[in-house]
Amino acid sequence: MYTASDLRKGLKVIIDEEPYIVTAFEFSKPGKGQALYRTKLRNMITGLTIDRTYREGDTFEPASLEERAMQFLYKEGGHYHFMDNETFEQIIINEESLGDAKNYLIENLNVEVLLFRDRAIGVELPNFVNLRVIKTETWVRGDTSKADFKPATLESGYVLRVPPFIEEGELITIDTRTGEFSKRVKE
């Protein structure tokens, strides 16, 4: 059991039977008054953020999440199908629960699926992933009129901004925390 004074960024707690992660936290205590813990919490299933203020003495049940190694198989409508690497059992996660992770899923990719009370609620990605550019405009050397970045479509369908020297068919590294181009991969 956690108490309000354990609250900090990244702590996972259960509120109304659902797992939440603390995304922002501020301690305040007006003169001679009680300690208040103002938080922003993200629902780990729906992705929605709520503001809550807790007081000294409030308690929380920790949200314990299980991670299981799985492989992404395919997407059908808004449903993403995964297979457990050990049991070969197949599960479905819907698009809303995946959040930004859906931008990086390509067939046969190995990921850690997060389970809350045996229900799959999302996937844990590495901080950096490598994906191939399948579509982008060709850069004309010496053309300075163009911006520093141009759009590129990745094999997962994700569109992001890349430097002008990146060409179709190249493999690039993306920072999954920001969704931004990180570097070109030398093959």
Binding site: S5, E26, F27, S28, K29, P30, G31, K32, G33, Q34, A35, L36, R38, T53, E56, G57
Partner: protein, 307 residues
């Protein structure tokens, strides 16, 4: 080992902090105050519902020098000040450190209103002496120290800034939340502001107002929404003080907190204390205002996490 850059970068802020401390001393010496030092480690803190002391062996680190300084006042010391470290358990945030520096001063012959005036004089004096002038920038706003400072009662603040009355807020245990979320951000944003006359239960060691005993003669100073000081006309009736300490302890007990033993020596001497007023000012917070710091971490050499 590489140089500790965060610490090296804080040098200018720490130099200003040192000047602030020197000028505070200068101000009180010029006004005829005696600087005192009382023990940091004491047998029992003043029982207050929301203030928790850190144990030190069978004793405690003081949460403020209040009890010892009042014993000095009760023994004929008429104007005293102290700058010292204080400790409060589990208080850590962008404006809180569990170990912090407090300036506390007491004087006879005067009530909380005369202390507001003196506090105003002190902060103007320090600002000028450290070369800041009378207009300072804090939290993206220009704050004019030279204009007369604003005074607003807690009752008025509730009327201006919230939809709920004080009575309702107290009944629903929302008083602190409303103070923090709706009132504090409006206080002292153009000129420093004193908010005064707190509900009686929010001033365990303060005198009640004669004309209206539902409030205590207590005030807080805010600059740019940041709480800097807490002062009051002192309660000098030992029987009443003992009753209030018991009440605070009952509240502590019913919320599962440890209770503190009665500070008997303080209570035995309290009746000798002449009518006085006293105030505590957070020195780290004052350094934050003058440095335009976003967090308290910027104005101390080390935070607990850096040790």
């Amino acid at each position: 080992m590489a140089k500790n850059w965060p610490l090296a970068r804080r040098k200018k802020a720490l130099q200003q902090r040192a000047s602030i401390l020197q000028e505070i001393r200068q101000f009180f010496i010029e006004k005829g105050y005696l600087e005192v030092e009382t023990p940091h480690r004491i047998p029992t803190p003043a029982p207050e519902f929301h203030i928790d002391a850190i144990p030190s062996g069978p004793w405690f680190l003081h949460t403020s020098p209040e009890l010892c300084m009042k014993r000095l006042m009760a023994s004929g010391y008429e104007k005293i000040f102290q700058i010292c470290r204080c400790w409060r358990e589990r208080e850590r945030g962008s404006q809180h450190l569990p170990e912090f520096t407090l300036l506390e001063w007491y004087r006879t012959g005067g009530d909380y209103h005369s202390l507001m005036e003196e506090c105003e004089g002190l902060i103007r004096f320090v600002a000028r002496a450290i070369g800041l002038g009378q207009k300072i920038i804090f939290r993206d706003r220009e704050i004019d120290l030279s204009k007369p400072w604003q005074e607003i009662s807690v009752k008025e603040a509730f009327r201006f800034y919230t939809k709920i009355s004080i009575t309702e807020a107290l009944e629903q245990n929302l008083f602190d939340e409303i103070m923090v979320q709706e009132i504090e951000p409006n206080l002292g944003v153009e000129i420093p502001t004193f908010i005064y006359d707190y509900p009686a239960e929010r001033g365990a060691l303060a005198r009640l107002k004669q004309e209206d005993p539902s409030v205590a003669e207590r005030f807080e100073l805010y600059i740019g929404g940041l709480e800097l000081a807490n002062g009051f006309s002192e309660l000098v009736d030992s029987e009443e003080q003992r009753r209030r300490f018991h009440l605070e302890n009952e509240n502590r007990q019913s919320s599962g907190k440890s209770i503190y033993s009665m500070p008997d020596k303080f209570l035995a001497e309290l009746d000798n204390m002449p009518p006085s007023a006293g105030i505590a000012l957070g020195v780290d917070r004052l350094a934050m205002v003058f440095w335009d710091a976003k967090t308290i971490d910027e104005v101390v050499a080390f935070t607990p996490e850096e040790l």
